[in-house]
């Protein structure tokens, strides 16, 4: 049997594929790359496209990735696939939304920062809860 290379395709949310292949094709940002066993270590970003694993006499398996990072070591290929769409303006829009939420939250803000007071209140409330619990148990 020909030499194989371990392939792992993972996304932040789950493992998509894990197995052996004789050749792996991936849509690197500079053009598609084919990785055979004993490839030298390589780190590259991926474009949206198809990652294919090839084994002779078998049908190729292919997986769609919407971008990510490809890491190659002599006996292992890892594809860190993106689940999120990462076009620049989309991320920016999401960031703006998060900021807006924060601003809306702050717009009806009350008094100054007073951690000590808040902490004291918190501890008092917790003590109250604890004593209520004790009374309830003792009953």
């Amino acid at each position: 049997m020909a030499m194989t290379i371990q392939v792992e395709i993972v996304s932040a949310e789950k493992t998509i594929f894990s197995g052996k292949a004789e050749m792996v094709f991936a849509p690197a940002s500079m053009g598609e790359v084919g990785i055979s066993p004993r490839h030298s270590p390589l780190l590259t970003s991926l474009k949206p496209g198809e990652v294919r694993t090839h084994i002779d006499n078998k049908e190729d398996q292919s997986f769609f990735v919407s971008g990510g990072i490809l890491e190659v070591q002599p006996h292992k290929v890892s594809v860190l696939a993106d689940t999120a769409v990462r076009a620049n303006d989309l991320v920016e829009a999401a960031a703006l939304e998060a900021k807006e939420r924060a601003e809306k939250l702050l717009s009806d803000k009350k008094a100054d920062v007073d951690y000590a007071k808040a902490q004291a209140e918190l501890i008092e409330a917790m003590a109250q809860l604890r004593s209520i619990e004790r009374i309830r148990k003792g009953r």
Partner: protein
């Protein structure tokens, strides 16, 4: 003493409360299992990306990424992960307490603090104490999507890149087991070197197109994965804490029902005794 009817209504109302808490307990139990699986599933990615970043930090690439350079600390960024819903015991309170403790210490050391909130419980609390909130997101649900977190995270990363903050930390609940959740405070930026025995000998990657671009993409993803991992763990904690809280609520309701039942029986007995003695007294008078 309360009359029989009053106690009966009280008992039935507590019984219906108990039904609700018991249902919530079971729902939380099944959700907890799912959240735990999600935690397991997201681990390979986190491990892998950590290993790659470890290699990189070790290989000393010609390009030092801003994320790796330590600067004198003036302003500190803090990402606080809380749950969206309550009724989960002391889970969020513990996070608040820990975050406040840290914030106070930093403030005394003369650092300014900027806060990023994930989860609506934190939004309420930190708004009330008037923290400096620069980003917020909520309604993440039981199955978090990385997509929903990207915005908030990128606000913090941008702030770091622009030099608005010099350190970034994250606070969340770590899932130890069903009964135990531990509040964790972790430093995200600047990157702390990863120590690994495998990395002793020197080698470096080929970078394509160049190390700067690849590193940039990789480190942003690494940060996102760390925060995502925190969110997923926090959800597992939320469900297990809710399960435990609801279980003790159902148990308490059971205790109260038992007590009330006793009171009710006594009242009923007393009423019967009284009626009997009235009848006997009446018969004797005739």
């Amino acid at each position: 003493m309360a009359s029989g009817k009053e106690i009966r209504t009280q008992i039935s109302s507590i019984k219906s409360t108990q039904k609700i808490t018991r249902a919530m307990e079971m729902v939380a139990a099944s959700k907890m299992r799912k959240a735990q699986q999600q935690m397991e599933r997201s681990r390979p990615y986190a491990d892998k990306i950590r290993a790659v970043v470890g290699h990189l930090a070790h290989a000393h690439p010609e390009y030092k990424h801003p994320f790796m350079i330590e600067r004198p600390v003036k302003r500190i960024g803090l990402i606080i992960i809380t749950s969206d819903r309550g009724l989960c015991g002391g889970l969020n309170t513990n996070v608040f307490k820990n975050a406040l403790k840290n914030m106070k210490a930093w403030e005394q050391a003369g650092h300014e603090i900027e806060v990023c909130l994930i989860g609506s419980k934190g939004m309420g609390f930190f708004k009330r104490i008037g923290a400096n909130i620069i980003a917020a997101t909520d309604q993440i649900g039981d199955k978090p999507d990385l997509q929903e977190l990207i915005g908030a995270i990128s606000v913090m990363l941008d702030a770091y890149k622009k030099g608005e903050i010099d350190q970034l930390n994250v606070v969340y609940n770590q899932f130890v087991n069903t009964m135990t959740q531990e509040v964790q405070v972790e430093q995200l930026l600047p990157l702390e070197p990863v120590d690994d025995d495998e990395l002793k000998h020197y080698w470096d990657y080929l970078y394509e197109p160049d190390s700067k671009e690849v590193l940039d993409g990789l480190l942003v993803r690494y940060m996102e994965s760390r925060v995502y991992q925190g969110v997923v763990e926090n959800i597992a904690c939320e469900q297990s804490a809710r399960m435990v809280a609801m279980k003790s609520a159902s148990d308490n309701a059971g205790d109260i029902i038992d007590e009330l039942q006793l009171v009710y029986n006594k009242a009923r007995q007393a009423a019967i005794t009284q009626e009997l003695s009235e009848i006997v007294a009446g018969a004797a008078a005739v």
